[in-house]
């Protein structure tokens, strides 16, 4: 029983980690708390749904489509809203408010187009099989979620750590101005970051949509709240921290549902966050900086 729970926790935690990854990437590189990330997550789920039901894509192609589509939404958001604010050097609360407005607009646009009621993926596209691994019955769907998440996370980590592109991104995270002086194409990388981050958000939307098999226009909001908790737990802008904290939240949630009660589920993230911040003001994995005079 416990093994079963742990496995569920792993698949849920993977999706949280994936979502938080996109979220923290935007914060790290662009320096923006992008509160429209939850809406982009939902857009990804609906894009995959449309690709499957209207264009009869197979599941894998629908996931790719969702990545590309939500990535494009992310690019649009950056070009139309965040870039002008960046150019003006607006204080960082301002882009936050702008992305709140965007989230409201996107959420209700999708509600207008698809209706407020729950939608489902058609059952024939969902893999139904399950395997027995070490006495635990594992659905192929969950296994797929875990594999896709780990694959994406590994690719991203390697890119950031080992490649020229990754070094450039880390330089921008340190200081966009200095990076520009070094000849790094800062604008291009901002664009790329927006695309990838939103794409990751979109994919995690599809995965959660598959996991819970319920799509609704506000499905991104609880995810956004959890994402915020996760990236703070992980230390703002810290990629590895966000991943670990995402997995951690998955376990904390599933175990609290199993042992405390299901009505606590959505409060676990914030309860944890509140407690952790009291003890470690910069998050679980963040390093504490001395205050400079």
């Amino acid at each position: 029983m416990l093994e079963q729970q742990l496995f569920n926790a792993l698949s849920l935690g993977c999706v949280y980690a994936l979502f938080a990854l996109g979220f923290t990437l935007v914060f790290g590189v662009l320096g923006v708390v992008n509160l429209s990330q939850g809406a982009v997550f939902m857009v990804g789920a609906y894009a995959a749904l449309t690709a499957i039901t209207k264009m009869s894509f197979p599941l894998w192609a629908a996931i790719l489509f969702a990545f590309a589509f939500s990535g494009l939404v992310g690019v649009l958001i950056d070009r139309l809203v965040l870039k002008p604010l960046r150019a003006r050097d607006a204080p960082h609360l301002i882009p936050m408010i702008a992305t709140i407005g965007l989230a409201i607009a996107i959420n209700s646009l999708v509600q207008g187009l698809f209706g407020a009621e729950n939608q489902r993926f058609p059952s024939e596209v969902l893999p139904q099989d399950s395997l027995q691994i070490a006495g635990v019955s594992v659905t192929v769907l969950e296994l797929g979620i875990i594999l896709v998440s780990f694959l994406l996370m590994t690719v991203l980590m390697l890119t950031l750590k080992k490649t020229q592109l990754g070094r450039a991104l880390r330089a921008i995270a340190e200081s966009p101005k200095a990076a520009r002086l070094l000849g790094i194409n800062v604008d291009g990388l901002f664009l790329l970051t927006s695309f990838v981050a939103a794409g990751l958000g979109g994919i995690s939307g599809v995965l959660i949509g598959l996991y819970s098999n319920a799509l609704f226009p506000l499905m991104g909001q609880p995810m956004l709240h959890k994402g915020i908790a996760v990236i703070i737990l992980g230390g703002m802008g810290d990629i590895r921290g966000a991943m670990l904290a995402g997995l951690f939240l998955g376990f904390a949630e599933v175990l609290s549902v199993a042992y405390i009660g299901s009505d606590m589920r959505d409060a676990v993230a914030f309860g944890l966050l509140f407690l952790v911040l009291l003890v470690r003001p910069k998050g679980l994995f963040g390093s504490v900086q001395e205050r400079k005079v």
């Binding site: 609360l93 301002i94 702008a98 709140i100 409201i104 209700s108 646009l109 509600q111 915020i228 309860g271």
Partner: protein, 290 residues
């Protein structure tokens, strides 16, 4: 004419009065922002005020003024208790810790079913709030804040906002002043909660969650925090926009969200920006950017 007014009032009185409570909320977060703290627990403080006072008037038959006082004191007390550990956080971390605290409060409200009605909320709160209560509350809070701005405390807040370390070196009790701003803001939010609860006669835990917290911040930032009028104007816009956009029907919230984005894009200092207004109204020069 009187008939017309009567009619107008019977339809819109709730809307007009919620302009008042929204203004109070915007002013409550303005107070902490003016001390340089991005604290977002105001929705929770509003909830604490609303629940405390409603339980007192419904179950214990307290008179309204006493319930108001209790509804302001309770959140201030809670602010004092959680302020000790949380106020040493800064920036986004403070924002998130206070938002997280709000979720914790919501959870406690849901869990304490016997007292608060749990997830179903409290029903049948006596409608004790009169229109002039709201007006008076807004005027008093505005007057109080205007006085505070010009006092020694207000200047200390300003100094802390500009540079905490420097303020400390000048002999300002930084932690004490921050605590004061936090607790005062909580009391104002509690007042808004009391008035609102005794107006709508129903309250539920969902009203004081994450979204409300974000909405309160949005009002204040949108209006601008350089003057007391900013938050009030922001509160008016955020409350009235959905009503004004009724003709968009299903896509009302789309327009609402986009207008928010446009305001932020084109009025970076908030709506209440005397410089900009002067430029538009009088001394308009083409091609000159400030």
């Amino acid at each position: 004419m009187l008939d017309y007014l009567d009619n107008f009032w019977s339809i819109y009185s709730n809307l007009v009065l919620s302009l008042g409570t929204a203004s109070l909320l915007a002013l409550s977060i303005y107070l902490t922002l003016s001390c340089g703290m991005l604290a977002m627990a105001n929705a929770a403080f509003m909830g604490i005020g609303a629940y405390t006072s409603s339980i007192l008037t419904m179950n214990y038959g307290w008179p309204f003024p006493a319930a108001i006082a209790a509804g302001m004191a309770a959140p201030a007390l809670v602010a004092f208790i959680i302020g000790k550990p949380t106020l040493r956080l800064s920036g986004v971390y403070l924002a998130m810790a206070t938002l997280a605290f709000g979720e914790v409060v919501r959870l406690i409200i849901i869990r304490a079913e016997g007292l608060t009605g749990g997830a179903l909320g409290l029903n049948g709160i006596p409608q004790l709030t009169q229109w002039w209560h709201v007006l008076l509350a807004v005027v008093l809070v505005l007057a109080f804040l205007a006085r505070l701005r010009r006092s020694k405390i207000g200047r200390a807040f300003e100094a802390i906002k500009e540079d905490e370390t420097a303020a400390g070196l000048m002999g300002i009790d930084v932690n004490g002043q921050k605590m004061l701003a936090f607790a005062l803001g909580a009391a104002i939010a509690g007042l808004a909660g009391v008035l609102n609860a005794h107006l709508t006669f129903f309250i539920g835990p969902q009203e004081y969650g994450f979204d409300r917290g974000v909405e309160i911040l949005t009002m204040t930032i949108l209006g601008g925090i350089n003057s007391l009028f900013g938050p009030v104007i922001g509160a008016f816009i955020i409350t009235l926009l959905p009503e004004l956009l009724r003709s968009f029907k299903d896509y009302r919230a789309v327009a609402n969200g986009l207008i928010l984005v446009l305001i932020v894009l084109f009025m970076p200092k908030g709506l209440w920006n005397p410089q900009w207004m002067r430029k538009v109204l009088g001394l308009r020069k083409k091609g000159v950017t400030p």
